[in-house]
């Protein structure tokens, strides 16, 4: 009897295990969820649910914007579906766009992908320039143009941008015998990235071997390239990275800084780089507003207030997002209305005060939310004003569909090698070989 009971108990356990494994398999096959039930018009309470497909921390929810909108529009219910990394979000988005299924009512698009989406998927999105209440003048012109096709259709509305400044450690600068006042520091390298590297040499002389001048070669080359009007593509859409003197100059200058030991041999946002933030091993980093968030997250508490923000030698943009409405959505009109509201200047200003996502609407730059902007890492520094100044000087840059592949090649298969002892020429050759192979269809 006892043995039999034990046998049946074991059977139950086995069956349960099989059932749960089977359920897991089925769940694996199942769709990403709520696009069926939640986008079918209206739930039990008769509300219309609008779904947003986002990545990273875009902060609409944290800033309470959904709640506010739901209060203003009692028949609307907002749900967001967030993928943590854009590297995972974007391939899925492309997949959903090409198969025209699984799309949310609103989809976010990162600035690194916007050119490709504009070039290849524009017909899948609503033209937002024709949506009610959208005023082109609300946005910085270049931000608006990035999401606009040659035929003049605007497939996404800009949310934030990443006006780049240089964040620097006041304590490390002081130790190295450099000025610490933000205006004086800005003057040290104003107008020319070469001067920035020269300051790096001075820093190294003063600071010795314990710390580096800058965080990574990738950060430097990205900053230089961001401030150019043309980098990898020309205005007609041709790939010109190999022949564009600005790209070669950026590469050589970064390689030079790497050879002189001014930049760490690190790749940004990787665990080892995070450690160097925590251990305060470098004095400067190219710094859009969101970078302060990264620094805050990775730093030791003692570092709070030790940073300050100076202008970059030349201003550029790094990062930013767009919101678009796929045509296949079930609530196109409501979704358009929602993103028009979410990206309006007032909401962008609110988002900055909560999430430090810098607005792409220039009219906010004089609003108190922006001018009074502060950050824990930079203490009393008026970072809102500093970034607003940078934002106004950002050039209108030609962006291309494969910018990311080219830049990744120049960074991960290029300048990083110089920090590992290869010559600038070897690194350039290796990068070009990789990029050309990756671009070839």
């Amino acid at each position: 009897m006892r043995a039999a009971r034990r046998g049946s108990a074991r059977k139950v356990v086995v069956m349960a295990a099989i059932a749960s494994l089977g359920a897991g398999l089925l769940a694996g096959c199942a769709d990403d969820g709520n696009d069926e039930d939640s986008s079918s018009s209206g739930d039990s309470s008769g509300k219309t649910t609008i779904t947003l497909g986002l990545f990273g921390t875009m902060g609409f929810k944290q800033a309470g914007l959904y709640e506010e909108y739901e209060k203003l529009n009692p028949d609307i219910n907002i749900e967001e579906n967030v993928t943590e990394r854009n590297e995972n979000y974007y391939p899925a988005l492309v997949n959903h766009l090409t198969t025209n299924s699984g799309l949310q009512d609103v989809q976010a698009i990162e600035v690194g992908n916007i050119a490709e989406v504009v070039a290849t998927q524009a017909d899948k999105f609503e033209d937002m320039s024709k949506a009610e209440g959208v005023k082109k003048d609300n946005w910085l012109d270049w931000k608006w143009q990035q999401a606009t096709t040659k035929d003049g259709a605007t497939i996404g509305l800009g949310t934030d941008i990443g006006p780049m400044a240089i964040c620097y450690r006041k304590d490390l600068f002081e130790k190295a015998g450099l000025p610490t006042d933000r205006d004086e520091v800005s003057k040290l390298w104003a107008g020319d990235w070469k001067k920035f590297v020269e300051v790096g040499e001075q820093y190294k002389k003063g600071a010795g071997k314990d710390t580096y001048f800058m965080d990574s070669p990738g950060g430097l080359i990205n900053a230089i390239l961001s401030s150019e009007k043309e980098k990898f593509y020309d205005a007609s859409g041709e790939v010109i990275y190999k022949t564009n003197p600005a790209v070669k100059a950026a590469f050589d200058l970064t390689a030079d800084a790497a050879e002189k030991g001014l930049v760490q041999s690190q790749t940004q946002f990787q665990p080892a780089w995070d450690q160097t933030v925590a251990n305060s091993l470098f004095a400067t980093v190219a710094c859009p507003p969101w970078m302060l968030g990264t620094i805050k997250e990775k730093s030791n508490p003692e570092s709070a207030g030790k940073w300050d923000v100076a202008q970059a030698p030349k201003s550029g943009n790094w990062g930013g997002t767009f919101l678009g409405v796929p045509k296949s959505g079930k609530h196109v009109k409501e979704a358009q209305k929602l993103i028009t509201w979410l990206t309006a200047p007032e909401q962008q200003a609110k988002l900055f005060s909560v999430m430090a996502s810098f607005p792409s609407a220039p009219s906010t730059y004089t609003m108190p939310e922006v001018t009074g902007g502060k950050n824990e890492m930079t203490g009393d520094a008026p970072i809102g004003k500093a970034f607003a100044k940078a934002a106004e000087e950002i050039p209108t840059q030609v962006i291309g569909p494969k910018d990311q592949i080219v830049q990744q090649g120049l960074t991960d298969n290029g300048v990083i090698l110089v920090t590992q002892g290869k010559s600038a020429k070897e690194a350039w050759d290796n990068a070009v070989k990789t990029i050309d192979n990756n671009l070839e269809k």
């Binding site: 391939p91 090409t98 290849t120 998927q121 990787q270 665990p271 160097t276 298969n413 269809k441």
Partner: protein
Amino acid sequence: MTTRHDTAASPVKGGAAPGRPPGGRASAEADRKKRAKLSRRWQRDMRWSPYAFVSPFFLLFLAFGLFPLIYTGWASLHTVELTAPTDMKWTGLDNYTRIFDDEFFWNAAKNTLWIGVISTVPQLLMAMGLAHILNYKLRASTFYRVVMLAPYATSIAAASLVFVLLFGRDYGMINWVLDMVGLDKIDWQNGSWSSKFAVSTIVIWRWTGYNALIYLAAMQAIPQDLYESAALDGANRWRQFIHVTLPSLRPTILFTVVVSTIGASQVFGEPLLFDANKGASGGSQHQFQTLGLYLYEQGWVNQHLGRASAIAWAMFLILIVIGILNAVISRRLRASS
């Protein structure tokens, strides 16, 4: 089955029951029909049910095995981009011929081979040793067996991330130990051989226990009297291992070699996650990019579906060649024994 039906039906046909009412004939006829119908259904059941029972596998295979295989083959003859998978431009064998001068492909092939050798050979040798030890009477042997299988049950991603931390250049534990004993730090991820060695370590860690258990199972099936007679002939433990255990394990060894070779040719997750730049190029100089990783990079990062498909088929063909070589060698081995 028909014979059984006949025997069952015969009494009715004979009409032997004498005291039946006159209507009995009609009802017997109906009964016969019903039985015939049932029997037909049963026949059909017997004939077709087995196919129904095996169909789940074949349907899944069709959907997730054969169709992708054929579709990939078709795509490999075109220029196709992931951003517009339906927009195919015919290029014939161009995607294949260019593989011949694609230095990245051959670099990846070489890396795959080396990582395969560095990981498979020690892995199988260690598995054999472990199995031999576990084959002795040990206390808590089940515990050891479970422990050995634990790495196999761990996800590649989790394991690789831990190994990335161990092999880190600046803050890795291995370099910390090297530093403590006075040796130079090694840049595991950026060296050509050090990175291959590190990737192989992850593979070895993951699969040694699995292979050891397979060897152990085979060892336990070897009859004890073989060892006894060997012992009577004066063979020590080592000689017993060489002359009794190894020959008896030959088919098992062959099996693990084949499975490990296939596994080694498809190594993907370990090198992908091992990359310090978190790209798919297998290191700055592609120093540990395997074929699987190169395929992924072309298809999903660079979005060249056509090229990626051709690489996939080239890998498939290489595997077939390896398979044929394996079969030839194993036939030779069998013939010689």
